[in-house]
């Protein structure tokens, strides 16, 4: 039997498999990035408000990032079991290092005069954050989101360890059984997925930051 890198037959006969994997992949990626974003936002705001927490939060997120995925997932299993949640929680923890830094950079980059004008006109606390600081932090936040999303697309594959790796399941199986078409198809889909996600984010950014159109 031939073992080509590209095999139309494979794509045709296993399309159900591929679609399932793809759907799972997208689901896990989106949930992870969204969850990571929310958590990172809270952490970044904390880190900004209490400079003493800053080093702790940034340090912890770095350490989390360095935990090898096998170890991370084994440890999480005790809490979340053999579910996609394990993968998602793991990936959320992995995205933190990028997202927290990105959001923090964005918040710290808000021009001080704009912030001061806002406070001087009576903006306070959450409202200041929501209406002034976050929108202005958007460019940096989107940049971080893009990196985080693309990395998460790649890292989702590692979820295969607990059986929820989306396209990673296909890659793993293909590697195990030396099925090149399966490996390549899934890998290419990963890249395509990342590309699409990236483009979507760029589009979203353009749509959500109308004031930056025309600014180079």
């Amino acid at each position: 039997m031939r073992n080509d890198w590209v095999c139309a037959e494979y794509v045709r006969t296993r399309s159900d498999d591929i679609v399932d994997a793809l759907v799972e992949h997208v689901g896990i990626t989106v949930t992870s990035v969204a969850g990571g974003f929310v958590l990172a936002l809270v952490l970044a705001v904390l880190a900004r408000s209490w400079p003493r927490l800053r080093a702790l939060i940034l340090g912890t997120s770095t350490v989390l990032y360095t935990v090898p995925s096998l170890v991370m997932f084994s440890l999480l299993l005790s809490v979340t079991g053999l579910t996609a949640t394990t993968v998602i929680v793991g990936l959320i923890l992995y995205t933190l290092t990028i997202l927290v830094r990105g959001i923090l950079t964005g918040l710290e980059g808000v021009p001080p005069d704009v912030r001061e004008a806002a406070v001087g006109m009576g903006y306070d606390g959450l409202r200041l954050l929501r209406k002034v600081e976050l929108p202005l932090a958007m460019p940096a936040v989107y940049a971080a989101l893009r990196v985080a999303t693309v990395s998460t697309v790649a890292m989702t594959t590692i979820g295969m360890i607990v059986g929820h790796g989306g396209l990673g399941n296909l890659i793993d199986r293909g590697l195990d059984s030396n099925f090149r078409a399966e490996v390549l198809t899934a890998s290419v889909l990963c890249v395509v997925l990342a590309l699409v996600a990236d483009l979507l984010l760029v589009g979203l950014q353009r749509w959500r930051t109308p004031w930056r159109r025309g600014v180079s």
């Binding site: 021009p111 005069d113 704009v114 001061e116 004008a117 806002a118 406070v119 001087g120 006109m121 009576g122 903006y123 306070d124 409202r127 002034v132 929108p135 202005l136 958007m138 930051t209 109308p210 004031w211 025309g214 600014v215």
Partner: protein
């Protein structure tokens, strides 16, 4: 407080819209930004804080809306001690134009202007109307500019939006921190003009910061001159600051040409005028020549006593007929209460040795010459020094060769 001359100290408390009472601010790093400052701004008055960079002007202003908490003394706005007031509510009730404008780059011009109305919960429609009205007030077309973003405006337009934004919720008090500093001199003077007109309309109580003494003189009802370390050197009206600097520091700060600067704050008064011979349009030339006496020219008025032009001795001797056949039309004049600077500029511009001064209803009052102009200026300086009306002043020194 000792030191600076404080006038009008007999104001009723009610009149004082903003009052700083022995206020000090020492920053955490030990910088003394403001030192025991006592100062008040009356209702509808525009007080300018002026001084070199870093002398504590911005700090003083920020203490009023509690962006900076004073380390000593008390501050009242409209009779209430600001330290006992919720800062957020306080700020919404005080218009604030920040140094460098600080527009929100992510909001359209209209939305920028409507920020405070939005904060205090006006409905969208009313906010919008208010924003458009204000843009018009500051000389921007709401239709073309309203939907743009700040980066699409020029520096001068942005400054205007900053002012509009501060006025949005119609606050009785405005704080303005170098609102016109980021634009070139031409645009700046244009903005100042518009601002003066605006203030005539809206009559806000304004605390205004600048480091440009000319701007201070032009805009301020009173001027507070600070020096390094937040020490108030003098607090008085512009004419007094220019005419009678209380300390060497102030004299230095207002500049060697403060005399010239004073021209722009000293109005033409009737007492300063000279009265050259006057002839009537319908007079015969010969009569006119006789009326002139030794003077070699005369002012020509029409039947209603309005300014018609001038005629020279020469014409009356060489020409024939009536004055109106020979009189030259007057190209320029000034009105009572115009500044001496305007008068002088007009004189120079029209290349004339004198300029006519008109009163109410274009009534001719007299003329101003370089010498009388100079005398008027000196008289006004003396008057301020002695705190009497200018016409009570007798100039001591020799006036004319």
């Amino acid at each position: 407080m000792n030191g600076p001359v404080e006038r009008h100290s007999d104001d009723s408390t009610e009149q004082r819209m903003i009052r700083l009472d022995g206020v000090s601010k020492t920053y955490a790093d030990g910088t003394v930004a403001v030192h025991e400052l006592t100062l008040d701004v009356r209702r509808g008055e525009l007080v300018v804080l002026v001084g070199p960079s870093g002398c504590g002007k911005t700090t003083t202003m920020k203490m009023v809306n509690r962006l900076v908490e004073p380390t000593g003394g008390r501050i009242f706005v409209d009779g209430r001690d600001v330290t006992h007031v919720d800062p957020v509510g306080l700020r919404r009730g005080i218009g604030y134009v920040i140094q460098n404008v600080g527009l929100f780059p992510h909001r359209s011009i209209e939305d920028n202007v409507a920020v405070v109305p939005e904060l205090v919960g006006w409905p969208a429609k009313r906010r919008r109307e208010r924003a458009r009205e204000l843009l018009e007030l500051v000389g921007l077309d709401p239709t073309t500019h309203g939907t743009r973003y700040p980066h699409e405006l020029s520096g001068g337009q942005r400054q205007r939006v900053g002012v509009a934004r501060a006025l949005a919720a119609d606050p009785p008090v405005l704080l303005m921190d170098e609102p016109f500093s980021a634009v070139d001199p031409v645009v700046r003077s244009q903005l100042q003009d518009e601002f003066l007109r605006l203030q005539d309309d809206v009559r806000k109580t304004i605390l205004f910061v600048t480091h440009d003494i000319e701007e201070a003189v032009r805009l301020g009802d009173r001027i507070a001159v600070f020096k390094q370390g937040g020490v108030l050197e003098q607090f008085d009206n512009p004419a007094a600051i220019l005419g009678a600097p209380a300390t060497d520091f102030v004299a230095d700060f207002v500049g060697a040409d403060r005399g010239l600067k004073r021209l722009s704050v000293t109005p033409v008064t009737e007492a300063d005028l000279e009265h050259p011979p006057v002839v009537n349009l319908e007079d015969e030339l010969a009569t006119a020549g006789f009326a002139m006496g030794e003077s070699n020219w005369a002012v020509v008025l029409d039947a209603e006593g309005r300014l018609a032009g001038w005629v020279s001795q020469e014409m009356t001797t060489t020409g024939t007929g009536r004055v109106h056949d020979h009189a030259r039309r007057m190209e320029a004049w000034v009105e009572l209460d115009d500044s001496l600077k305007v008068a002088f500029s007009e004189m120079l511009q029209w290349n004339a040795g004198w300029i006519a001064v008109l009163g109410d209803g274009d009534r001719y009052l007299g003329v101003l010459t370089p010498s009388t102009l100079h005398t008027a200026l000196r008289r006004s300086v003396e008057a301020d020094l002695l705190d009497v009306a200018p016409d009570e002043v007798v100039l001591e020194t020799v006036q004319d060769a």
